[in-house]
């Protein structure tokens, strides 16, 4: 393919990609981690493994949070600013269990 043809084509593809990205905006967070104390882990959607969650980390629909016994993890929902202290029993809880997705109804 000649450079004179390939450069505009590449530019067009980049533009298309940006357009599609703006049309289908990236996932909106539905909650935020507002307290982390002890061992609090997150398994993001599409992943099977857990990693430590950070304070103020944005949480999405499909994320799982696991709080070990003796630890403390609190999240705040974006939609209604309610807070939820995740039970410290080592079992995973979905962020969506309490926080509704942006377009729930």
């Amino acid at each position: 393919m000649k450079p004179s043809v390939s450069i505009p084509l590449a530019l067009a593809l980049v533009l298309m990609a940006q357009t599609s990205e703006s049309q289908f905006s990236p996932r909106q967070p539905i909650a935020e981690m507002i307290r982390v104390q002890g061992k609090v882990e997150i398994s993001s959607q599409g992943q099977s493994t857990y990693r430590p969650v950070k304070l103020n980390e944005r949480l999405y629909h499909g994320d799982l949070i696991r709080v070990e016994r003796g630890s403390r993890g609190v999240i705040r929902c974006q939609a209604d600013a309610t807070t939820w202290t995740i039970p410290a029993d080592g079992l995973p809880r979905g962020v969506a269990n309490t926080c509704s997705p942006p377009s729930s109804r």
């Binding site: 499909g62 799982l64 995973p92 809880r93 979905g94 969506a96 309490t98």
Partner: protein, 437 residues
Amino acid sequence: MTPLTLTDAIERYETAIVALEVAGEGLSAEAVLEVLVARSLVQQAINHFPRATVSELGDRLWAMITRRKRRSRYRDWQRLVNRLDTRLNKQAVYINQAVKLEDWQVLLPAPEREWLRLLETPQVSSWRDRFDWLWQGLSISLLSVALSLLIGIATRFLEGGTDALGAFAVIMPTVVGLLTGGGALTKTGRQAMEHILGSLRIARHWWDEIFCGLSALFLLSMVGFWFALPQIAVMYSQSADLAYQEGQLALAEYRYDRALKLNPAQLDIHYKLGRLYEDLTQLDQAALEYQVAVKGGREGEAYKAYDRLARLYILEGSAENYSKAVSLLNEGLGVALAKNDTATMYAIYTNLGWARLLQERYGEAREGLQRAINLAPERAPAYCLQAQVLEGSQDPIAAMAAWEQCLRFANQKDPDEDLWIGLALKRLRIEMKSNET
């Protein structure tokens, strides 16, 4: 004015009438005046005739002798005057055209006005008046139909209470109906209408036609109103949707109900009412509404009732209800509108999987649920049911993974999902304990 003798007066009267007859349509006011004066003199002479003769002669004997002759002469004059009056009467139309008799008659002394009746224009009935019975009959027929429509409309608006729009929609046509109907059907109304038409200087022979026209106009407006009812129903339905979204369920119920009364054919309102009753946990009522929506047709959002009704059958339990749910869902799969609605297709496949799960037909359940997951991988119900299907299929490892997916997306605000969250945590807790040991 000295009275003429009757003979002279009659001669003058005859001359004046001849002049009128000759003039015909080109009659002058002077000629009319002359005939009026002449006839007035005849009247004077007639009025004075008996007294004059008696006072003049003063001779009772002569009176007895000449009584017969006098009577005979008087009868001749009377006949002559009558003939002349008849001829005058024939000219009455031209006389009335030439002068305004009402203004002139005051000039004559009261006792001599009686004969003026001769000059009253005969009431010429217009050819249109011959059809007045037709117009009157037509008015009554049109009004009867219009009033029937009005009653039908009013009932739909007033049944079960009304609101400002409903009251306005009823009051306006009722007032118009009473005015039109009262004008045509009641004596008082008729008099009022006649007064109005008279003050508008509308000729009398047009009145019945005008009544009929007004009745037709009223009927047309009622017919228009009748055919506008579906549009008004849509307005009520849309405002009910808004109230529902704002959580004003009682107001939404009232408006949906009104919309249905205005247009019972708007079947998707049954679906919306069913959804509302579900929110109010009146499940029996909800099922009834969904049944109507499903049976009635597939317009609007009515097709969404398939999966809703099926879910209620599933919640009711029993093998019979599961079969009913499956049958309904399979029917829903064939609805064209549903095929283009991902959320509805998701719900249909999920509920199909749920019903099959409860029938312990796991293979078919898995198939339905997988289709649902493919349509919406970020929704919980299909995962939660899939986990139970996998448990039933003795595949605990895959079931645990499905329970985890269920937990990822489930929301406790949904009663079904809240139940499944509890189940998922229970299973995961058992799994965790077994891993610890």
